[in-house]
């Protein structure tokens, strides 16, 4: 097999057809689908509608509710901590606010708890990997905020609600839309370098399912630029962070409040008892569970720990019968299969086309609809199959330079250029091959506008929560989500902590949960949360001994 311009020769032949039809494709775009067409394509091609991807959970507050198999597996597993192993008589950390997760939501919560008057040494962030190792760091496309005169928070609200198939909690969608411009202002004050026009106005693009161009970005490193600024602020304030110490279970007190957590040092295997007046869950998503066997764009620690811990103390979960697959994961080369190619590529005008060079979908449908259209194209034989058996369709990146001028791709998508250059592919000249990849946990722990869960003392923000996006999130709303609700969590948890009185610490909820498993006739062989995914080679695992 000959490789030309980074692609095998047979793929290059297909690219030639893409090139021939490029001009026509730009002139005659595919129209957006009607709501009825959307329903139909989703029901046929999206994993949320497939047989066998989900089942009813048999234990806990949401007993009987449909969720993805991989999530149910975790909820029906044995709690990883045995209460008998933990001495609650010795408190290792005693704080006002415990923040579980050092990504976007957790760090923003810490900053606003501090602004709300909680002294820095009464705040503690604990995180599984390093401070900032999170999906927040990886978001590329940008953040939505309705600040242009032709736009309004009302339209943003309508987009959020419609994109979520009218299943969002309205008060959370309202908070997301109305707080957005204030968040952008806060970022300006921190020093975020947003892409701007010469007059200082933001360069705003469209995203899938948005009716106005309202996507603010920082090249294609938007998430990284936000996280760098937010984290730098936290470091300057010297807010304590415990790295490589995931919380593995929440603590409660004898009054039924959440009262901190048990952290586990991944390197020394010690546990730490952390007592807190208020606890903020900001553990992020669950892409590394590879639900429905999809590859994922998520970071290494995205294993859904927060869902499990919250469920063990009796918090309820929303919308985990859906997952967000992002339409444009990389399908070639093999080394980067599943890695994200940002939606901004389509925002800038690139169109998905099939192996014959023909377009088949409006490029900016909501993510679930766009993904379903890509899957259909491949299932019906109009995709390209890579040498390793991965199907995909072309995303015609060279269109961007025709629309916006030469150099646009380098200046707006430098991360993408860099990624493909490693494999000899020049995306300014040739299209990239894409296929949907597991991207986002739409649902999660139910919160209200104050980020309270149904369990006193437990707040939650960011990807771990449910209700904000309903059954489908729009692009540019997750960076916004962690800022809006991270801020609210910091403020409301600070308020709560001022009055909270913690009683006697207990882990009895775990014993209760184990009894519930028994009563439901579930005999778990596995434990949860799982903390990290298992990627070791099969040969290495099959020969490993547990003797050291």
């Amino acid at each position: 097999m000959k490789i030309i311009n980074g692609y095998p020769d047979y793929m290059m032949e297909s690219i030639e057809r893409v090139e021939e039809k490029r001009e026509r494709n730009m002139k005659e775009p595919v129209k957006p689908m009607s709501l009825k067409d959307r329903e139909e394509i989703l029901s046929k091609y999206h994993p949320d509608y497939m047989e066998g991807t989900r089942r009813k959970v048999r234990v806990g507050v949401d007993k009987g509710k449909l969720m993805y198999n991989g999530i149910v597996d975790l909820l029906e597993a044995k709690p990883v901590v045995d209460p008998k192993d933990i001495d609650l008589g010795k408190i290792d950390y005693d704080v006002d606010i415990l923040i579980i997760g050092g990504g976007g939501a957790g760090t923003v919560a810490a900053l606003f708890a501090y602004e709300s008057g909680v002294p820095r040494d009464r705040i503690l962030i604990v995180t599984k990997l390093r401070h900032g190792d999170a999906n927040s760091m990886m978001a590329q496309g940008g953040i939505q905020a309705a600040d242009r005169p032709e736009d309004s928070p009302v339209l943003h609200y309508l987009d959020i609600y419609g994109g979520g198939h009218f299943t969002n909690k309205p008060e959370l969608a309202r908070a997301l839309a109305l707080d957005a411009p204030g968040i952008i202002r806060w970022h300006e004050e921190l020093g975020v370098m947003y892409d701007r026009q010469d007059d200082g106005e933001f360069l705003e693009l469209s995203g899938g399912g948005t009716c106005r161009n309202r996507l603010h970005s920082c090249k294609d490193y938007s998430g990284m630029e936000l996280m760098r600024n937010i984290r730098d602020r936290a470091r300057n304030l010297q807010i304590p962070v415990l790295e490589f110490c995931p919380v593995v279970e929440l603590l409660m007190d004898d009054k039924g409040q959440v009262a901190g957590g048990v952290a586990f040092n991944l390197e020394t295997y010690e546990y730490y008892v952390i007592r807190a007046k208020a606890t903020i869950l900001a553990t992020g998503g669950s892409g590394r569970l590879h639900l429905s066997n999809y590859p994922t764009t998520n970071h290494y620690g995205a294993t859904g720990d927060g869902l499990v811990m919250a469920y063990h103390v009796g918090a309820n979960l929303l919308d985990l019968d859906t997952i967000q697959i992002h339409p444009t994961g990389d399908a070639y080369p093999e080394a980067i299969v599943g890695v994200l190619s940002t939606e901004k590529i389509r925002g800038l005008g690139a169109i998905p086309v099939n192996k014959n060079g023909d377009p088949f979908v409006f490029p900016l449908e909501p993510r679930d609809v766009e993904s379903a259209a890509l899957i259909r194209e491949c299932k019906e034989g109009r995709g390209i199959v890579t040498p390793t058996g991965m199907p995909g369709v072309w995303l015609d990146t060279p269109m961007i330079e025709i629309i916006h001028g030469e150099g646009t791709i380098q200046s707006q998508l430098s991360g993408e250029v860099r990624k493909f250059k490693r494999f000899g592919i020049d995306i300014t000249k040739y299209p990239i091959l894409v296929y949907p990849t597991l991207h986002y946990q739409n649902g999660g722990v139910e919160i209200n506008e104050k980020t309270e869960t149904r369990v006193p003392g437990l707040f939650a923000a960011g990807e771990v929560t449910g209700g904000v996006h309903g059954k489908n999130r729009l692009m540019g709303n997750s960076l916004l989500d962690y800022n809006v609700f991270g801020r609210r969590a910091g403020i409301y948890a600070a308020k709560y902590a001022k009055k909270a009185k913690i009683g006697k610490l207990t882990l009895s909820h775990l014993e209760k949960y184990s009894r519930m498993l028994e009563e439901a006739n579930i005999r778990p062989t596995k434990t949860a949360p799982i903390l990290l995914p298992e990627y070791r080679g099969e040969m290495a695992i099959s020969r490993s001994l547990d003797i050291f």
């Binding site: 097999m1 190792d133 600040d147 009302v154 309508l158 020093g191 090249k219 600024n229 490993s544």
Partner: protein
Amino acid sequence: MSKSKQVVIEKKKTGRANKSEDDKEKQGVVEVFIMGKSYRVPAGLTIMKALEYAGYRFIRGCGCRAGFCGACSTVYRIEDEQKLGFDLACQKLVEDKMYLVQLPFVPAAKAVYDINKLEPSDSVLLTYYPEIARCVSCNTCTKSCPQDIEVMKYIQSAIRGDIAKCAEISFDCIQCGLCAMRCPADIKHYHVAQLARRIRGKYLDPKSKNLAKRLKEIEERKFDEEIEKLMKMDKKEIMELYRNRKIEAEESVIAGGD
């Protein structure tokens, strides 16, 4: 069309069971040395996946797995080669006879400042990071950057007081710290650049008037009533409203661009 396509289709029919066999034949196996110890791994894997294939389970040295977080800085040398290589384990493919070591942590103190209180003068970077003046222009930092950023150039901009330029050149920095580990003058390049970017974003770039106006409208509760109305609207009615909303992007696509 071509013969190669036929091959692909047949391979697909045979299913995934033979996949690894096929790959091995086609791409072969390479020998890598993980901290000096030899392992045979399939070619075509990233360094990160090769380590996992060999049986390593990461705690440190693995973060986003997509080139954004800088957790997996890797130093390598191909046997018998003179030069040291620097890259990210999640991005770089293994090569035969590659000696690998990861540097998942960099001891490099960050200056502590309050961005709201500092003076954005030309000398501010020198004030917080005086060691940049010791740069000997050896360019080792640039050569060790896995993002191919012109690190030395932005340090030179910093010395000259050109904060905007320093911010611009350094923008794609993932803060892995390899530059700081290699610098003979003990400069912490990536921390300097972080400060430069924050100063530029906060003080130097022009501000949006639209945003200021919108914030005032929100403060005056201009949109509250209308959103409230949508929140109470029955589902049929709001679906209708959603269906009929005008989509800006659709129009610009038809217009063919900007």
